[in-house]
């Protein structure tokens, strides 16, 4: 199992990489000890969105399916959590609400994915059909202001958004503040490690083979549609996890976190970071979220303009992504230096370089 942590589909390997990984993780774990609780809450807020970015990275970078529907599933699970948490009552059932809402998002992804993938649409149309679904959901929720729009005691409330659900709770203990932060860190480590294992497993190889050439993968005897659907369901389910966590974090959700411009954000994070690698996406998305939040305090529009500029700049200057590009430069520089110093290690570096391409 552990062998799958490293492989041809992921960058970063060996002692140096994993030492850095552990150092960052240790830093993240002790951070709440010396930061004030407001900052910890903010940090937890950035981490919410990482799942969505990793899901898109899996679908787009590894599976070659450019989904514009991450906020669609974000919204389904976000509203799903709200409705379930209100209807089932607070307390420990909120954990069940979280799990169920993610399952609902995955079922929705399964249905939408079935029609698109079995219909055989791909490329551009995959993007605009998922975006159409996203926008329609946002429009629909936007006009549910009237009192007739409710599921049990849960009012949908139109543009003002749904509120009044409990945060994640175990017994009498609300998972908020630094407790929520630790839950997020744990979830991110689990999801990141699991995705690394997935893409380096034989399933991951088929997913990548399908991205490279669907006909060839099919000729090799794989039913590529099943692998694509699996990728789509997992990627969208991660967006759902973000949505459910978001609702429980702020105890509210509005349609504006589904429609435009929210739907563009995961695309910007992943494109800027480098869609072909999970680690690049993880790091890049976090940096972008941090920057975005810093600027949003002054002007949300300015922050969104900057996101647009970054997206445009990425596709024009570094189609593979900036973070990935910089990461590769560093690795190249490092291996070159090592090669000069110790010639015997050549075989090792050669392997590393061939895997990157």
């Amino acid at each position: 199992m552990l062998k799958l942590l490293e492989g041809p589909q992921t960058l970063g390997r060996g002692k140096i990489f994993w030492s850095c990984f552990l150092a960052v993780l240790a830093g993240a774990l002790i951070y709440p000890l010396f930061a004030d609780s407001y900052d910890v809450g903010n940090f937890a807020y950035f981490l919410i969105w990482i799942f969505m970015a990793l899901g898109l990275c899996l679908m787009w970078g590894y599976g070659g399916m450019l989904s514009f529907g991450q906020t669609f599933f974000f919204g389904i699970a976000g509203y799903g959590y709200g409705v379930l948490a209100i209807n089932m009552g607070g307390g420990t059932t909120t954990i069940a609400a979280l799990a169920l809402s993610v399952v609902i998002a995955m079922i929705a992804a399964g249905i939408l994915g079935y029609f698109m993938i079995w219909g055989g649409i791909s490329g551009i149309f995959f993007g605009i059909v998922t975006l159409s679904a996203t926008l329609v959901l946002a429009f629909f929720l936007g006009q549910t202001a009237g009192p007739e729009w409710h599921i049990g005691p849960a009012r949908l409330n139109g543009f003002n958004g749904m509120k009044g659900m409990d945060p994640l709770t175990v017994g009498n203990f609300d998972i908020e503040g630094s407790a929520l932060y630790y839950v997020m860190i744990a979830l991110i480590v689990i999801v990141y490690i699991a995705l690394r294992m997935l893409v380096n497993s034989s399933i991951g190889n088929v997913i990548v083979a399908t991205r490279e050439n669907p006909q060839r993968a099919e000729m090799l005897g794989y039913d590529v549609r099943k692998y694509q659907l699996l990728t789509f369901v997992i990627g969208s389910g991660l967006a759902g996890l973000s949505g459910a966590l978001y609702t429980s974090w702020g105890q509210f959700i509005t349609p504006s976190s589904i429609g435009l411009p929210a739907a563009a954000m995961p695309i910007v994070w992943v494109a800027f970071s480098g869609r072909n690698d999970l680690t690049a996406t993880l790091v890049g998305s976090f940096l972008l979220l941090f920057g975005f939040q810093t600027i949003t305090v002054y002007s949300q529009q300015a922050a969104l303009v900057l996101m647009g500029v970054l997206l445009l700049a990425t596709v024009m200057l570094a189609p593979q992504g900036f973070v990935l590009g910089i990461g590769k430069l560093v690795v190249d520089w490092w291996t070159k230096r090592r090669r000069r110093n110790e010639a015997p290690a050549l075989a090792d570096t050669a392997r590393l370089q061939s895997d990157e391409t």
Partner: protein, 288 residues
């Protein structure tokens, strides 16, 4: 009886006009270059703002609308020259680039213009058939949609530009080898596409509130029409609009706008399962 029949036709015409006008520009760009212009909604918004600005300066509405379409066309050609041109070999990247552009434009407009702009009222005039009254302007919109279709038919089927454009659409490399200046064809086509988007905004400007995010109101309809129309846009767009308008009209009448839109989306998702290539693939097969 005839009044009811006309009422049904009127509702159909209303939805049909909306679908055709919002989708025509997107369809031309997609059909010619295989590029989906994600900033389509922003060109619509541009047309609407220019129209309202000119009318507020005292320009008569029809002239303002034509000028708005021209403005959008010229801006479109500039955008093509600066950005889109680089991505003809990478259609997915063109999607991202134009989406980035769309974000920049919408949010800058919100920053600069703000959300409130004084609108212009819908041109008055209505007529009655039986017990019902109908707005004349809605029928003008329908006439414009039909005129757009007829105009595109003439441009692409009856002119020299059209012949070269269709050749480029079928096989760009071959057309280039035969001496067609494909770069210029692309530039003009993109200009036509964005001018049509501008026209859409110009025509609907009097009927809606002007906000920088208004483009989003049109994009779902334009996307689904293009998806259902399929690759051969000259053949597919009009039947797709007729088909979707019928579904939409039936649902609108009994359940309201939003259910109409949801129903239309469901219909589209069902159809791509059976006809992933769109309606035009069926029509092309029939034609052979």
């Amino acid at each position: 009886m005839s009044a009811e029949l006309f009422s049904v036709f009127y509702q159909f015409a209303d939805v049909f006009a909306f679908l055709i006008l919002s989708a025509a520009g997107l369809a031309i760009v997609f059909g010619m270059m295989g590029v989906i212009n994600m900033a389509h909604g922003e060109f619509i918004m541009c047309g609407a703002y220019v129209t309202v600005g000119l009318v507020n300066l005292g320009v008569p509405l029809p002239i303002a609308q034509i000028l708005a379409a021209l403005t959008a066309g010229i801006i479109g050609m500039i955008v093509e020259y600066l950005v889109v041109r680089r991505f003809y070999k990478r259609p997915l990247d063109s999607l991202l680039a134009t989406w980035g552009l769309s974000l920049i434009v919408t949010q800058s407009m919100l920053l600069i213009v703000g959300s409130a702009v004084r609108g212009i009222g819908t041109p008055e005039g209505s007529f009655a058939i039986g017990g019902y009254t109908f707005s004349t302007y809605r029928l003008v919109l329908f006439a414009c949609a039909v005129a757009v279709l007829a105009g595109l038919y003439i441009i692409f089927m009856k002119t020299r530009f059209g012949v070269i454009a269709r050749a480029t659409m079928q096989n760009a490399a071959m057309a280039k080898a035969l001496g067609a200046r494909t770069g210029r064809i692309y530039s003009i086509s993109f200009g036509i596409g964005t001018a049509l988007a501008g026209l859409c905004g110009a025509l609907y400007a009097p009927t809606m509130t002007l906000i920088p995010t208004m483009g989003a109101t049109f994009v779902v309809e334009s996307f689904v029409t293009v998806v259902i129309g399929g690759a051969n846009v000259l053949l597919g767009t009009a039947p797709a609009a007729v088909f979707l308008a019928m579904i939409r009209m039936a649902l609108n009448a009994s359940y309201g706008q939003i259910i109409g839109q949801i129903g239309m989306l469901f219909a589209v998702i069902l159809i791509i399962r059976v006809l992933p290539e769109g309606l035009s693939s069926v029509l092309v097969r029939r034609g052979r």
